[in-house]
């Protein structure tokens, strides 16, 4: 999170032939979590949005079970306002690895009248209902999410194994203590467990790992020229989802995305970082958090994330 300049590591640690770098330590821990779930649950599923965190999750799962296939299917909650480049990436990835993809569509729920469009047009909070419906219908008992504790202060309180009640709800006061590396996956029928293998990773860790492992990402993570318009202090992409409106004007700018979510609430940042090295340098020097820079939905109130998580959001 802070400025990381050229580093040679701690001399005492570097001298020890058994020292693991922090990336190796995080990778090893995440793989352990994936394998625990494979060993203890009947029907796990990976939430996969085509965003960088879920891409890293999938990469870790591929490594954890190689040379066998990943023993989980994927679930994408499609808000209907996704970036086309990201949907394209999602479909190519699923095909390349021979995976099974479930799609839960917010648009379907709106079309059926089971969800109502919000006045502000953002569909991010609407994802919870289709997500819980898909978990219920798929009878999934473990749901991997790419959430990281460094993203947000309610997330900082989240366990690696997070028990959710029959309504998918999170009660921060009733969380199980999580001791050593002994994850308790026991749950009653109807309950499920959310699992966050990237809990201990930061945004910078994710990017450094992407660089080390040479993982391909959707191109919108790198600086490119694109038509954007300003709203609430962010650069948004135009689209049928509802922008630009009267008084908002399009302009061409050199931008990139730090997070990739719903187009209606995910902003781009001005950037000329068009390589992974440049992106890492940019993040290391940034004085804004990932969500603070690019997410409108977390600014709604001091407890926006906590409130959504209580309702079943990931």
């Amino acid at each position: 999170m802070t400025t990381v300049t050229a580093v040679t590591g701690n001399a005492e640690d570097a001298d020890n032939p058994y020292a693991l770098s922090h990336l190796d330590a995080l990778e090893s821990e995440a793989v352990h979590i994936f394998r625990e779930v494979a060993g203890e649950f009947e029907r796990p599923v990976i939430l996969f949005s085509g965003g960088k965190d879920s891409i890293v999750m999938l990469h870790l799962a591929l490594k954890a079970f190689a040379p066998a296939a990943v023993p989980f299917s994927l679930l994408h909650v499609d808000t209907g306002h996704n970036f086309p480049e990201v949907l394209d990436y999602r479909d190519r990835t699923v095909e390349r690895h021979g995976l099974r993809l479930h799609v839960a569509s917010v648009q379907d729920f709106i079309d059926r009248g089971e969800l109502r469009e919000r006045p502000d047009g953002t569909r991010n909070p609407l994802q919870t209902v289709p997500l819980l419906d898909a978990i219920d219908k798929g009878r999934f008992d473990a749901v991997f999410g790419g959430g990281r504790r460094d993203e947000e202060k309610a997330r900082a309180k989240e366990r690696v194994f997070s028990l959710r009640d029959e309504f998918g709800g999170w009660d921060p006061r009733r969380q199980r203590p999580e001791l050593w590396q002994l994850y308790n996956g026991k749950h009653s029928p109807g309950e499920h467990v959310r699992v966050f293998p990237l809990s201990n990773w930061t945004e910078l860790d994710v990017w450094q790992y992407i660089a080390r492992e040479k993982i391909e990402l959707p191109a919108i993570y790198y600086a490119h020229e694109r038509e954007v318009f300003a709203r609430s202090g962010m650069w948004l992409s135009p689209g049928e989802w509802g922008g630009p409106k009267d008084g908002e004007s399009l302009e061409r700018r050199q931008v990139r995305y730090r997070t990739v979510g719903d187009m209606s609430c995910t902003g781009a940042v001005d950037s000329d970082a068009d390589t992974i090295e440049a992106v890492i340098a940019e993040i290391a020097a940034s004085r804004l958090t990932e969500r603070g820079a690019t997410r409108a939905d977390d600014k709604m109130s001091e407890a926006a994330m906590e409130d959504r998580k209580r309702e079943g959001y990931f």
Partner: protein, 469 residues
């Protein structure tokens, strides 16, 4: 895994990745309510420039909204609505920050007596614990409790942060007296001079005089305490040695999952996936699978995509054996020469973490490494009074936050090491079979006071017997 058969080359492909090849320190904070723990954490994050502009603006906005004139740094860490409303920390939160020398995972644990279990949660994975003391009050019951929990959980290092030195005129005698009292108490826990892996810890506890509010000795050296020649809190966190020498410890490999692709490309592949809990595994090692006792030889080790000759804790790997044994999740692979004993009778020190009590005669599930078995609570011989370490005999049950001794009988034999030998293979959970509630955190073997006495003897007798934390 960037490490190959040559140990210690944690180097990435490109130069930029070198910036990431730092080590990781997991540490926990503990302190009584109002000792200034949130302020210390806020100061550590703020002065190490780990708080970003938007987070600080959010804190300023919220502080102003409450009529406070200066930003309340505690709001950086109190992430839940109820915590902000009450101004207290309820639950463990994990925070992340980095300096050019090291990356840190901080388990920020609450100070309230009723949340001792949360300190146990934070300390279970910590390599260092910061125990905060108010310089005006000195060592209090909660300080002893936190020191005892850190010792019990075998956290390798403790920092005694004597806070609010600004309120005692930065007086050295005040600090010296508190440090002395704490060190004497720590000695009664048997911790100074204990071992971590193969490395002798010359000092378990480091005392640092600070003012979290004024910023003395947290990140920057204090101009107000020139009598103090030691490191700041951050400097100590950056330099404390955390790497064990796993070659000193017997290898333990709990099998998590059996990988059998059954594809045209890999028709006969059978790999045992897991995270090495302790020690080093090498190709060619003669190994025994427990509990069956069948023996074989390590044919290959796959370190996440790369064949290696050796791997060590805590790497996640896949191991293949020369023989097709019947091995499944929950089994333990260990070198034949140093395989652990099997037992169905367990003595342990436990911390009870659930609201409902643990009682004699209760039927529970016991999770040890990757194995979960049925167990019976046969006896609860004593409950520990943490402030003076005296045992309270035959309490009959343990309530939330109690620490005590229990004896258990398991339905199947377990390969359990003493917690004194391995935090990883000596720890277990007790789980309520009815609804899956985590009841109790268990540490196999002797209580720490007894273990300390024995270790003192062992230390004199055999200097090479290392403890693994």
């Amino acid at each position: 895994m960037s490490t190959n058969t040559t140990a210690g080359t944690s180097t990435g492909a490109a130069g930029i990745i070198e910036a990431g090849a730092t080590s990781l320190l997991r540490f926990a904070t503990a302190g009584s309510v109002d000792d200034g723990k949130s302020t210390l954490v806020g100061r550590l994050l703020h002065d190490s420039k780990s708080v970003l502009t938007d987070q600080l603006e959010a804190v300023e906005r919220a502080s102003l909204g409450r009529g406070q004139e200066t930003p309340d740094l505690a709001l950086l860490t109190d992430g839940l609505r109820a915590e902000r409303e009450q101004g207290i920390t309820i639950d463990v939160a994990y925070r992340y920050f980095a300096t050019p020398r090291r990356r840190f995972i901080l388990a920020d644990t609450p100070g309230h007596v009723q949340y001792t279990r949360n300190m146990v949660t934070g300390a279970s994975t910590a390599e260092l614990a910061v125990v905060l003391v108010d310089a005006r009050n000195g060592v209090v019951e909660q300080t002893r409790r936190h020191a005892a929990v850190a010792a019990l959980l075998r956290v390798p290092h403790v920092v005694l942060a004597v806070n609010k030195m600004d309120l005692v005129d930065y007086a050295e005698p005040v600090f010296a007296a508190i440090a002395e009292e704490f060190t004497t108490y720590a000695a009664s826990l048997g911790v100074p001079g204990w071992r971590s892996g193969g490395n002798l810890q010359d000092k378990w506890c480091t005392a640092i005089p600070i003012s979290a509010l004024a910023g003395d000795n947290v990140v920057s050296p204090s101009a107000n305490m020139d009598w103090y020649g030691g490191p700041t809190v951050l400097e100590h966190l950056e330099t404390v040695p955390v790497v064990d020498d796993p070659s000193q410890d017997p290898a333990r490999f709990p099998v998590q999952y059996v990988i059998r692709p059954q594809t045209a490309e890999h028709p006969d592949y059978r790999g045992y996936a897991g995270q090495i809990a302790s020690g080093v595994l090498r190709v060619g090692d003669a190994v025994t699978a427990l509990p069956s006792g069948r023996t074989s030889t390590i044919e290959a080790i796959d370190a996440l995509g790369q064949a290696v000759d050796a791997a060590w804790a805590p790497q996640s790997v896949t191991v293949r054996l020369t023989d097709d044994l019947d091995i499944s999740r929950g089994d333990l692979i260990a070198p034949t020469a140093t395989a652990p004993d099997l037992s169905q009778d367990i003595e342990a020190t436990v911390c009870h973490v659930a609201d409902r009590p643990l009682t004699v005669g209760q039927r529970v599930l016991l999770k040890h490494t990757t194995r979960t078995v049925k167990a019976l609570v046969k006896d609860i011989p004593s409950r520990l009074t943490l402030d003076d370490l005296s045992p309270h005999p035959a309490p009959g049950e343990l309530a939330a936050n109690d620490i005590g001794r229990v004896t258990l009988r398991t339905a199947e034999p377990l390969a359990l090491d003493a917690y004194a030998d391995s935090r990883r293979t000596g720890s277990f959970l007790l789980i309520d079979p009815a609804d899956g509630t985590t009841l109790t955190a268990g540490m196999a073997g002797n209580a720490f006071a007894e273990a300390a006495a024995e270790a003192a003897v062992a230390d004199g007798a055999d200097d090479d017997e290392g403890w693994d934390f």
